[in-house]
């Protein structure tokens, strides 16, 4: 029920504060360890694939492009190694997107934000840009000091210039690699450096140079925190069994100094392992404290695990005070119970099943797809024509698709009205009742088909008619069905 408020008691709300929080610049410290090595390896792999894939060659025969991965927009073809897709086969991409989405869910059900922490382009390029920043300006403390002092000496100015120059080169190469997926890479590289390339290539390089430079150089963790929808979706999708980067409260609290902890332990008292060294905060690329529990900002890159492990080793305490753990164990540990893990559970089985099903269907369809096809469209006006001898003729527009890499000789047969004949406009009739035509490789041909039913076999109502096309060399066949209509 609404409470009745005396208008005299209404006060304007305090609207003096800002509507957004000012960004606190993050200065991640360099770190070494298991997860850092995993991140370096994945970065090298991902960037290697992205930058060099367009140069991989794949022989498809004479006249066809020899680039392994090519999106040929002018000719509406997509090439991926041994696969060649036409625009009407875009459903493979739909399937791929479904698989990708569910794979993301599966990763999340198993190990939290694996995508965010290790694989997302935003993470990979930001990580690379941070590496450049550290290389040029020094580690966390130096960068903080240089930013704070603010004095612009010649050395400092040259440092900043160098950093941005390297950033821009990386960004430019990123945009450059992008356009290579849309044209023959070696040719386009030659054209680009001699300024012969089409303007649109330069525009796209410019756009992606700008986005890379801005997103990885300036926006950084703000993209993950404010712009990206995945953290919100991820938070709704996760469950108590998913492994997340977690601080172990039961082991860590209460925090004390190394010296004090040793003293208290000597007295036989219970002390936490956390020595409050703040290393986990220092290395964090999103600038949060993992000890505050799961947070939206945390991309779960595992660098705080490395930082804490290094400290624990130094002070002679067991590793993984911060580690991959699930929600259930946080509570179980506080109750003194042994941790339990369950990777195989309904959720992961369901996700895996969806991936297997969609992937399986796609592979099956891809493996069994025919490289010869026919589509038929009945004439709308007139639907049927009476001829002078009383027979009936229907006309159709047929489109024959030859997706293979060689020219085909095609024979067309029909199953329709009894004793009906078929004629292809423009085709030489060597065999009058079995028209044959040539369809060039990797193309379609539009034909006008005329089907005539003799007087005595005039159908009274519309009956189905099937057009069968056969590659007379290879025996491949396809068919399409339409109707034969009486006037």
């Amino acid at each position: 029920m609404n409470k009745i408020v005396n208008p005299n008691e209404l006060r304007p709300v305090d609207d003096t504060g800002p509507l957004y929080a000012a960004r606190k610049k993050v200065y991640p410290q360099s770190i070494s360890g298991t997860f850092r090595r995993i991140k370096w390896s994945l970065m090298a792999f991902c960037l290697g694939v992205y930058y060099f894939l367009p140069f991989v060659r794949w022989n498809r025969g004479i006249g066809a492009p020899d680039q392994a991965v090519l999106i040929d927009l002018p000719n509406s073809r997509f090439y991926f190694f041994f696969i060649e897709l036409w625009p009407q086969e875009v459903y493979y991409f739909t399937g791929l997107l479904i698989v990708a989405a569910v794979a993301l869910f599966l990763m999340n059900a198993i190990g939290g934000r694996i995508w965010c922490g290790y694989l997302c382009p935003q993470t990979v390029w930001t990580d690379l840009f941070y590496a450049v920043e550290r290389f040029v300006e020094g580690d966390r403390r130096e960068r903080m000091r240089k930013d704070k002092s603010g004095g612009l000496t010649l050395k400092r100015a040259s440092e900043i210039a160098l950093k941005h120059a390297i950033w821009l080169m990386i960004a430019w190469w990123t945009g450059g690699a992008w356009v290579l997926y849309f044209n023959d890479a070696p040719t386009l590289v030659k054209e680009l450096v001699t300024f012969q390339a089409p303007g649109i290539a330069y525009i796209w390089i410019g756009i992606l140079t700008a986005t890379t430079y801005v997103l990885a150089g300036y926006m950084r963790e703000q993209v993950c925190t404010y712009m990206c929808p995945w953290p919100r979706i991820q938070a709704a999708l996760t469950d108590e069994w998913a492994l997340n980067v977690t601080y172990r409260y039961d082991r860590g609290e209460k925090r004390t100094s190394v010296k004090k902890a040793a003293e208290l332990r000597a007295l036989g008292q219970q002390v936490g392992d956390c020595v409050d060294c703040n290393q986990c905060v220092a290395v964090c690329p999103t600038g949060i404290d993992i000890r505050n529990g799961p947070q939206l900002e945390c991309i779960q890159c595992g660098l705080c695990i490395d930082a804490c492990d290094n400290v624990m080793t130094k002070i002679g305490r067991p590793k993984r005070l911060i580690g991959y753990d699930n929600d259930i164990n946080i509570h179980r540990r506080q109750e003194g119970k042994a941790p339990i893990y369950r990777i195989v559970r309904a959720r992961t089985i369901a996700y895996s099943a969806i991936i297997a099903a969609v992937g399986g269907i796609m592979l099956y369809v891809l493996a069994t797809r025919t490289l010869l096809d026919i589509n038929v469209l009945h004439d709308r006006n007139p639907v049927a024509v009476a001829l002078s001898d009383g027979s009936i003729r229907n006309a159709y527009t047929a489109r024959l698709l030859n997706k293979s890499g060689h020219d085909r000789v095609i024979a067309i047969d029909i199953d329709g009205p009894v004793n009906s004949t078929i004629h292809v406009v423009g085709a030489d009739s060597i065999t009058p009742d079995r028209p044959m035509i040539v369809i060039p490789r990797d193309s379609t041909s539009e034909l006008r088909l005329l089907v005539t039913a003799p007087t005595e076999n005039n159908p009274e109502k519309s009956i189905p008619v099937r057009f069968r096309v056969t590659d007379i060399g290879l025996g491949e066949a396809a068919s399409a069905t339409d109707n034969f209509v009486a006037p």
Partner: protein, 291 residues
Amino acid sequence: MTDHHNEIDSVSGRTTTGHEWDGIKELNTPLPRWWVITFYLTIIWAIGYWIVYPAWPLIASNTRGVLGYSSRADVAVELANLDKIRGDKMVALGAASLADIEKDPALLALARAKGKTVFGDNCAPCHGSGAAGAKGFPNLNDDDWLWGGTLDQIMQTIQYGARSGHAKTHEGQMLAFGKDGVLKPDEIVTVANYVRSLSGLPTRKGYDAAKGEKIFADNCVACHGDGGKGNQELGAPNLTDKIWLYGSDEAVLIETISNGRAGVMPAWEGRLDPATIKAMAVYVHSLGGGK
């Protein structure tokens, strides 16, 4: 209206407009500065636009603008570009023989596409958009041709027309046997039934076949030929087939014999360029009935 502009709202500190609904007063909140500036900028922009582009309607025309822009000129440029793109292909179409066009898939596709468009613009009003014809206007999809159905004959008919007044036009017409007093009404009924019998249609009870054949031989064979097979030189239709331009009812036939027929097909030479006429001949031929 009383002046409320001096009333200050205690919560926001703004003046009110004086509008009040059930004790709720409308605040006199000014528009955001950026909005007002944008608004004035659009006005300035509009003034610039008047000067540069055609804008104000005058009595007979409109202001031209300093750029001299006109959308009509744009169309002319685009059409010229289109002709440039098509140039070689239309030249090839104009140079190739009709038979060669049908045998070359690329030329056939071009001729059909071009022919279909031009047909829709020029021929569809009489022959229908799908060339299915109407009473008095032949169906071009079937295999019955008044003036011949080969590629050359079709092209000739398109070029010069029928009874079009062009020097090379097809001539020949169905005479008005009744109106001109050549045949008496009962003779017309008899010969109409005879004509129906030629294509196996039922005849009127008590009709004299021998008399009908005699009237036909005396008056009709000159154009329609022995047995009524027709003559494409004169555009005389074949009376033995199942296709009728005006209809096969007795009443329609009596009307035709009494008053004659002389449908007109215009000549397109001079109105369409030769390559286009060629494309149209190929298109009509490819509809299905071509010989």
